[in-house]
Amino acid sequence: MARDLTPLFEPRGVVVTGVSSHPGKFGFVTLHNLLSCGYQGEVFAVGRPDPEGGATIILNCPVLASVDALPEGAAELLVVCTPVSANEQIIRTAAERGVRAVFVAAGGYSEASEEGAAAETRLVALANELDLVLAGPNGQGITSPPVGLCAQIVAPFPPRGRIGVASQSGNFVSAFQNYAAQTGIGISRSVSAGNAAATSIADYVEWFADDPETDVGLCYVEGLTDGRDFFERVRAITPRMPVVVVKGGATTGGQRAAASHTGSLASDDRVFDGMARQAGMVRATTIEAAFEAAATLATQPLPGGSGVVVLTTAGGWGVVTADAITTHRDLTLTTLPDDLLTAVDAMLPPRWSRNNPVDLAGGETRETIPELLDMVAGHPGVDSVVQLGLGIQGNTAALTRSGPFHPDHGLERIVDFHERQERRYAEAAADASTTHGKPVLVASELAVTQPDNPMVAAVRGTDRLCYPSADRAVAALGHLVRYASWRRARA
């Protein structure tokens, strides 16, 4: 039974300790973020009393001198930004006032010293005694966009989406949030697990699996204290929710049996890799690839097989992408079925590639791309589609629009046409995917080089990822296909 983390991610009221008037301090920043991102519950601040004896107001919020002053039952989540020595008493009192979950942002615990480790042990014992959810210590905080909760000492506040993030590195939480903000593929919950003293990555992921706001788990792990437990628990989740994992840290294990060849070949990385595959985890090697895998799992349907058809408006892209698919162990380049080939042939001038990749060779008319996307995705012999070479018209429109002749000389009309077409293409890709229940991935470097290109913007508007390169689309699709196959084999 998963630990109930609802008071952590959907608290009725939040209280922050360690709030001072210095806008650079964690307490202040946390209070600011709680008050600035749309959280509808009550927010309380606890800090040092005004030495003059007057009421202290920070960010329009009256500062309580102690958690004693907290109204009974008004706050379920306590965010601790006070030093180690004060925290046990604060937590005990807060629990008496109705707090049910504690996020300890403060450092100085096991990561710092032996004394700190002892304090951390006492913290865990206290949380157990009081039946509190204890997150951290030494973490950056929590976000929960569905309820506008930004209880963290850093930015950004990510857009709302379906990815649940749990990380043993706070900076990687921020990295995932940055990618979410950039791509528009949002986050349901995020937590920087810090030292993960009482609540582990597995605890978070388990709760995400039952969370109606979350479709995909995304985690960064290093130094798992109980790898077997992590394996067993994640394996129980992956049949219903995909879990993307990035592992950091080189050797963590002790000495292995030295006399055996098996022992000498059993590196941490190989064992972790086998474990991840066995448990159906999606293992990514970089933070960027992990986010893109999670974003893909969150926004594309699972494919029924490994076959991919590449659609491209022109040459090189298709060739390189076909190479990437052919050399990928989990993907195959679909041989175009005869009936599909005949149907495409009827739509295009004879110079098209007559093969996969389906290269239009510039032979498209205004209806070709949307019709082709629907036809190819709808064919029973096709599992997934990668669409390349969009955004050219949008690029042309941008230059035309910014030049000295726009809007005269008939330019306004053509610019509008180009931009409208780009939006249609993006929408057609999403529609084809939704209608036929298959992944349709759009890739273009314009996703990063010109994020306001109307095609890129329109892909975003369909709540899908515009992949920054065909390689990255192929890598993400590979993860999707592998996961789907793992799941099918166990259905």
Binding site: H261, T262, L265, F272, G274, Q278, A489
Partner: protein, 212 residues
């Protein structure tokens, strides 16, 4: 850490379901020759004892012996090569198995994840090639098949130099058997190195069990 003799290791893995090459032990060179004649030539003769873990490195393996005289001579040699630190030794005679493909399989206890089953491409280059993959024990059959799929050298597992493809079900049996042996806490690790593929069938021609 101590090891079982090859004979005891073979018995242990064979009882768990691993297919091992035909073998017998002998206490003297003459008896080794008798055993070899019953078995049919060619045979392999090795020095076998609890303290002998790396036979090849010490030259304690004699391959492709084709007559009783050869076996007697090799066996006499091997017994003479035994040192005091080898403790009790005997001779292990086994059928000389030939195959172009060698795999390695094993069991190891990982400090983070507990018992793991390994499969890899074997032979003398095994550690340099390092085409190996792992699964946590015990293994479901599906896990075993996916472990086989994980190897990079898939062409090696298909039809190869006139030999049929590796029998993946039989290989999965061996991997599952290794995984089941993880339930015995007295076993620290197991090496089946090599598993020679004969007419598609993986067969262990050496086994080394390390005790906890």
């Amino acid at each position: 850490m101590t090891t079982l003799s090859e004979a005891d290791s073979r018995t242990l893995v064979a009882e768990a379901g691993v297919i091992v090459s035909r073998w017998a032990t002998a206490d003297t060179a003459d008896n080794a020759a008798v055993v070899a004649e019953e078995m049919g030539f060619p045979v392999v003769v090795k020095l076998c004892g609890e303290a002998i873990a790396h036979k090849t490195e010490r030259g304690l393996v004699r391959l492709s012996l084709t007559s009783a005289d050869d076996v007697r001579a090799a066996a006499t040699d091997l017994l003479g090569a035994a040192t005091e630190s080898d403790g009790d030794v005997e001779l292990l005679v086994s059928t000389m198995v030939r195959g172009d493909r060698e795999l390695i399989a094993g069991l190891v206890r990982d400090p983070q994840f507990g018992p793991c089953v390994m499969l890899g491409v074997g032979g003398v280059l095994a550690e340099a090639v390092a085409d190996v993959a792992f699964r946590l024990a015990p293994l479901e059959r599906l896990d075993a098949h996916e472990l086989i799929d994980d190897l990079g050298s898939q062409t090696l597992l298909g039809p190869f130099r006139g030999q049929p493809a590796v029998d993946r079900d039989a290989l999965a049996d061996t991997l599952c058997a290794l995984g089941d042996l993880a339930g015995d806490p007295a076993i620290a690790s197991i090496d089946l190195n090599p598993l020679i593929v004969v007419e598609g069938q993986p067969m262990a021609v050496d086994a080394l069990v390390e005790r906890t």
